[in-house]
Subunit: 296 residues, 2 copies
């Protein structure tokens, strides 16, 4: 199966499960219904669902049924969606557009957007804890991991460091730490939660960790390269935005050519991490290639 086909299949499964997990509200209370609408506006019908795909595929690789990991995959996507809502707020990146649509706070106002983000985080935990096909001990482990990866030790910590880094140039170590927190930890959570849904071995968990860390770095390096080499049409968003605001990126540190060289090394490492899964690891190997060679 081609990498794109399976990605699409996983994205469809996730979309349906998200729709199930967060129904439209029809209460007599408009403000309540509107909050749920803002949550759905931000989490449904958007994105490539890369994190969800990693979660479902690692579950499959560890001998589980991907369907059992859907509550975890949805949770990871909800956390991702909430982080984008809050990122776009005026006190953060102040972005009016998200994937070509008005940002949540443009569509619903700042207060509702703030609450929609907050409620999506809570909804992520509720959804993950409802993984009824997974033994309770594994659910606790998986959701604890999610909480750690999206909190101060992970995503929020990375975002705080990222905001701070806008004001001064940073070194390679700090840049790596920022991205490990801001995006890497949630990719790690997605991969390992998939393993835990299948009651995986420690060896499999370790492989997922290694793969996820490498893939996170590739993703960011290619992102930084595309920001200076792609056209606005290819990317669907303004290019050169990082360079313009004087932000340190892998490209400002190493240049385009060297960054792609490094990304290629990380791609090899990502594929090596999959050896424990044998032939079955093909999709994730191709997925890593796909991230390396993507044009948007």
């Amino acid at each position: 199966m081609k990498v794109n086909e399976r990605l699409q299949e996983y994205a469809l499964m996730t979309e349906q499960a998200l729709e199930q997990a967060l129904h439209q509200a029809n209460t007599p209370f408009d403000a309540y219904n509107r909050l749920v609408e803002a949550m759905r506006y931000s989490v449904l019908g958007g994105g490539k669902r890369i994190r969800a795909a990693l979660c479902l595929e690692f579950c499959r690789l560890c001998g589980g049924n991907p369907v059992d990991a859907l509550p975890f995959a949805c949770a990871v996507e909800m956390i991702h969606a909430y982080s984008l809502i809050h990122d776009d707020l005026p006190c953060m990146d102040n972005d009016d557009l998200r994937r070509g649509k008005p940002s949540c706070h443009i569509a619903y106002g700042e207060a509702v957007a703030l609450l929609a983000g907050d409620a999506l985080q809570a909804c992520a935990f509720k959804t993950a804890l409802n993984a009824c096909q997974v033994p309770a001990e594994q659910v606790v482990k998986a959701v604890e991991l999610l909480a750690k990866c999206c909190g101060y030790e992970g995503m929020c910590g990375g975002q705080a460091m990222d905001l701070d880094a806008e004001e001064r140039p940073v070194d390679h170590e700090t840049l790596a730490e920022i991205h490990a927190g801001k995006t890497g930890m949630m990719i790690l959570a997605a991969a390992q939660m998939g393993c835990l849904a299948a009651s995986s071995t420690k060896e499999q968990l370790k492989a997922a960790e290694e793969y996820a860390c490498e893939v996170g770095i590739i993703f960011q390096m290619v992102d930084d390269v595309l920001d200076v080499t792609a056209t606005e049409e290819e990317l669907g968003k303004p290019i050169g935005s990082d360079a313009q605001c004087g932000k340190t990126t892998y490209v400002t540190l190493f240049g385009v050519e060297k960054t792609m060289e490094y990304a290629t090394v990380h791609n090899e490492r990502a594929k090596n991490a999959l050896s424990v899964f044998g032939e079955e690891g093909t999709f994730l190997a191709e997925f890593s290639d796909y991230l390396l060679h993507r044009k948007h």
Copy 2:
């Protein structure tokens, strides 16, 4: 034991557990350390820990060791603290002061305050899931309840309705719904999570629900009364603030006298709900009286 003494004992236990759950950070990354500092600034050393006390006491009443419920009590307090940070933000209530100290966003800036709130919510779930003395099945049930009560079906939904209600007068049903969501559901979560920590019976869970709902109403009714009858010194915050901004309260709907009459009826109901616990329910009966008769 006097109600105040046991409240203080529970508050002390909770304070120590919160300090344990959220250590000061000493990484080489200032922005990261500062985020953790903002979280600690908002969650430590503040408040009467009423929610935590309910959680610990219901655990004891159901035959458990209150210490086992500490992770749940901390989680509820962390959620409460995050909601106050976000409530105080300029796009919400725009409050510069909280318990006589500068609000989190005044002390640390808006972006850090937003992230500190987000990270405290995640930390609440991480802490609750680490309740290692409680069987995994009970942990899953308790934390799922927490997620529901603090999300769109609970706290966030109530806040969205509350914001909306500032712009127009509301009827009794809507006002009750706002408060049930905004404060009631987290009081319910605290009480029932305490029960679940002790692997309680269904009857005990039901009693906790009834008691928590009544206590939530009493708390709000007395709050509305104190807003017009207390002095600024007694309350430690400006009085008459609700009335000034034309907000509907129990007092604007029913007047002071009628509101206190209703609160007294709810106090009787709260105490009746405790009958299943027999003599042991004395503290919670006194606690309900204490909420009814408080002067600040």
